[in-house]
């Protein structure tokens, strides 16, 4: 085990990185080490940002919160909850995936992985909610970008770049995130017994309305047992459509869904079950404690059917984002290679979310088919971190 350094303020982070920069000595950056995500990397030093924590300012009426990166997701969500607000992007709690129990980790980790939940297709990804940040780049310099306001075209939007950069560009120290008032009410309309082709078509029908569906997922019949909710019919595949907003509007829209899909077998989840359902789904509880390799596959909706026709027998999966995202697991490394080829050919993206360390060491974490993209990525990495010391190799070997 190498030395773990846990600075307590920005200046200490800056000094530490500056020294490492001078010696070109690689650093692994961690929050509270909750996520075993990305490639396994060899670093002589570990920088733990957990002690850079605390809420800096929270202005509910301005709809933003500014926090230090080591603050736990739980603490932040509780704070927002006290003002009846929330993050629109529904951050995922990957604790269930890695450890079988809740562990949301630090907000820095959530931002670094751009973790966005079921509402993503309607409201944007986490990175669309990051208004600004402060960080220390790979030369040990303090940098900042963005601000606290939603509309901002003042220099490059570095917030977009740092979210989902897995700590390879800079060590974040402070983030400002947009928050939203909670929806007053929600219900979920569940349809049973569809196959994946029908599901994709039904998504399309639902999305072709003005009903403002804010969650749309599909679980095949074998994969639904973990939803222990009264109004879920077990032993069936489930297609779920979430509707959120003022109560009368939600009920009206559910009524319209009844009209459209009423000929099929269905049930409606009340607000409590609906919330529970989407939490279970969002936190990937389908894959709780799995030893298989877990992947996230983003595809154009129209390619999802073809993908599933090819691979559904070899994988455990569910569909999210109204057909745009497939979460899946498999033991078979060969299958993953084939899926990577499929994703590149069909303009999609496959990311490994969980795997054993051997796979993480030897195989790609992301799937990139474009050499020019990699060349530019490598230049971008160097523009933040000239000596390649921050989480080197975590995203791509050599970058």
């Amino acid at each position: 085990m190498n030395d773990i350094y846990s600075p307590v303020n920005e200046k200490e982070v800056s000094d530490f990185i500056y020294e490492c920069h001078k010696d070109s000595s690689p650093i692994e950056i961690i929050g509270n080490n909750s996520k075993k995500i990305g490639r396994v990397i060899q670093c002589s030093k570990t920088l733990c940002l957990e002690k850079i924590n605390g809420i800096i300012e929270y202005f509910p009426e301005e709809l933003y919160i500014k926090v230090k990166v080591g603050t736990s997701l739980e603490e932040i969500e509780n704070t927002l909850d006290s003002k009846n607000q929330t993050f629109g992007f529904e951050p995922m709690d990957l604790g269930f995936l890695y450890e079988g129990k809740s562990r949301g980790g630090t907000i820095g980790g959530v931002v670094a992985c751009n973790l966005s939940g079921p509402r993503r297709f309607k409201i944007g990804a986490l990175r669309d909610h990051l208004l600004g940040f402060k960080a220390i780049n790979g030369s040990g310099e303090q940098i900042k970008s963005g601000g606290t306001v939603v509309k901002n075209v003042t220099g490059y939007d570095l917030s977009k770049l740092v979210s989902g950069s897995y700590g390879t560009l800079c060590a974040l120290t402070e983030v400002t995130l947009k928050v939203l008032p909670k929806y007053e009410y929600q219900e979920t309309f569940c349809l049973y017994g569809l196959n994946h082709n029908e599901a994709i078509n039904f998504f399309s029908t639902a999305m072709d309305t003005s009903l403002e569906i804010s969650g749309a997922c599909f679980y095949p019949a074998d994969n639904t047992r973990f939803f222990r909710l009264n109004d879920i019919k077990q032993n069936n595949s489930i297609l779920s459509l979430r509707v959120e907003g003022p109560k009368t509007s939600v009920q009206e829209r559910i009524q319209q869904l009844r009209k459209i899909f009423g000929a099929s077998d269905y049930s409606v989840l009340d607000i409590f079950q609906s919330k529970a359902f989407w939490n279970l789904s969002k936190n990937l509880e389908l894959f709780k404690n799995t030893n298989e390799i877990v992947c996230k596959l983003s595809l154009p909706i129209t390619n999802a059917s073809e993908f599933l026709s090819k691979f559904s027998n070899d994988i455990k999966y569910f569909i999210d984002w109204a057909g745009g995202l497939i979460w899946l697991s498999t033991k078979d490394v060969e299958t993953i290679s084939k899926m990577r080829i499929f994703s590149v050919k069909n303009n999609g993206h496959l990311t490994i979310y969980k795997s054993d360390d051997n796979y993480r060491r030897t195989e790609e974490f992301l799937t990139c088919g474009d050499t020019n993209f990699k060349i530019l990525s490598s230049k971008i990495k160097k523009s933040f971190d000239p000596n390649l010391i921050l989480n080197p190799g975590k995203m791509y070997a050599g970058i």
Partner: protein, 495 residues
């Protein structure tokens, strides 16, 4: 008006005829006569004018790539241009540049309703996208007032917004993918019909990059289903403070209107005279709130908004009872700029973003400045997201007035930053606000941005002289990060 631009390269100027000849190898559309160049000498910020060396109008990605590669190899600067409606001088030419107009990229390539997107060339106008899909009940959400003229490529470069950005976001939230060509001719496709490619978010950082990182040759944009019902209300107030606090209350009650705009009295009068939208003339501030959703939701929300308005001492209200009436409400607001053009020989439109609760404070300050500079000002705000557009009126026949107007504008923006806002909400920095960047960023911040620029364009040939200060200001102000008494990287250029 004297504007500092990067120094022209005399060798390039001397070689004009050769360069033009070479450019003709790559495309049939090269303009180089003085008369032909004139239409390209300025953009929406027409106080600055400069003819380029030559204009090219490529017709496909290959031509773009070959032209850029040629320019890169010969160290020729390139300025991309869409429709030229930009308000910060982003497509202002340089004397020794090749201006690349994307006007011939004017086709919509694919309407894909299953994936709910449109694939388009960048020269297509913003409004044309909506027009292409509206028969199927779809539309493209960002709606800048210039939507009839401005191009999608320009929208991407400026991350443009509109009155409906409050609910549906700006361009960055509505573009799924782009094809771009880098200055060395490399063609890259980023994103596409799927969401969230992993890897560095080049798509995100490209939005609002003001033509400095690459040339957009294709875009895949998201289309949305039209809402079931839409209504708007006009609400009048006797003070701007009341209007501002009404906006804050609406937002903090969890209501997300499709749009929420404020106009101040001078603008109400100007637009009412110009567009006859039916606005009340006896109020100090007018708020337009638009709500969309299901029919009953819209009714309920309109009522809630009116209740909140009443609590904030609203003196007037009127709800739209038909789509025609609703469009009429917007007609005034969308004609705000033209209306100012009628009452004043010239105006410049500023664009700052501030925290919503600072609206009244900032407006009060703007009025003080108006007296100080003795120039008229009219204000509109995208109030829901704190984006304000003061329109400063002046007469360019009086050489002193432009300078005064510019100083007035700069003072407003500095104040925006002071109260926690930013220099630009949607028009970009361009040449206009370049020297103010140090109000927001210190030397480290700017060096980081410049080094990112280098990753895309190491010779700094693509749209140089825009966005970042060239008058050495931040560096001279001495805000360089001093580490243990030593400046880091003393050899790094301090621009």
């Amino acid at each position: 008006m004297v504007l500092h631009l990067p120094e022209a390269d005399q060798k390039i100027l001397d070689n004009k005829s050769l360069i033009v000849k070479e450019l003709n190898r790559f495309t049939n559309n090269v303009l180089s006569d003085n008369d032909e160049l004139r239409p390209y000498e300025t953009d929406g910020l027409n106080v600055y004018k400069q003819k380029p060396l030559a204009v090219v109008l490529p017709e496909n990605t290959r031509e773009v790539s070959e032209i850029l590669k040629y320019c890169y190899q010969h160290n020729i600067k390139v300025v991309p241009r869409g429709a030229g409606t930009g308000l910060s001088g982003g497509s202002l030419p340089l004397k020794d540049c090749v201006l690349m107009s994307m006007g011939k990229f004017n086709k919509i390539l694919e309407k894909d309703f299953k994936n709910r997107c449109v694939v388009t060339q960048p020269g297509v106008t913003n409004l044309a996208i909506t027009q292409a899909v509206q028969d199927q009940g779809y539309y493209y959400a960002p709606d800048p007032s210039s939507q009839l003229a401005c191009s999608i490529g320009g929208n991407i470069a400026e991350n443009s917004g509109g009155v409906h950005s409050l609910k549906y976001g700006t361009t960055t939230n509505n573009v799924l993918g782009v094809e771009i060509v880098l200055i060395d001719g490399t063609i890259l496709r980023i994103g596409g019909k799927h969401l969230d490619s992993e890897g560095y978010d080049l798509l995100g950082v490209f939005m609002g990059s003001e033509g400095l990182l690459g040339v957009v040759t294709e875009a895949t944009v998201k289309i949305l289903k039209k809402p079931e019902a839409v209504r708007a209300v006009l609400i009048g107030f006797n003070s701007i403070e009341d209007a501002g606090s009404c906006v804050s209350d609406v937002i903090s009650k969890g209501i997300v209107p499709a749009g929420m705009e404020i106009m101040d009295k001078p603008l109400i009068i100007a637009t009412e005279n110009y567009a006859k939208a039916g606005y009340p003339r006896d109020v100090e501030a007018l708020l337009i709130v638009e709500i969309d959703g299901t029919a009953s939701e819209v009714e309920a929300m309109i009522q809630k908004v009116l209740d909140i308005a009443k609590m904030n001492k609203a003196s007037y209200n009127k709800a739209s009872n038909s789509d025609e009436e609703r469009m009429k409400f917007w007609k005034g607001r969308k004609a705000a700029f033209s209306a100012c053009g009628v009452i004043s020989p010239d105006y410049i439109c500023m664009d700052g973003s501030i925290p919503r609760n600072k609206l009244a404070d900032v407006l009060g300050y703007i009025n003080q400045l108006s007296k100080k500079y003795n120039l008229r000002v009219a204000n509109c705000f995208h109030a829901g997201d704190g984006n304000l557009h003061p329109l400063i009126m002046f007469d360019s026949n009086d050489p002193k007035e432009l300078k005064k107007a510019e100083d007035f504008g700069a003072d407003i923006l500095k104040y925006c930053v002071k109260v926690g806002g930013v220099l630009s909400g949607e028009h970009g920095i361009g040449v206009e606000k370049r020297e103010l960047m140090c109000e927001m960023f210190n030397n480290n911040d700017i060096q980081q941005q410049l080094s990112l620029k280098k990753a895309f364009d190491k010779k700094n040939l693509l749209n140089p002289g825009k966005v970042y200060p060239i008058l050495h200001r931040c560096a001279e102000e001495g805000r360089i990060h001093i580490h243990k008494g030593k400046t880091k990287f003393p050899d790094l250029p301090r621009f």
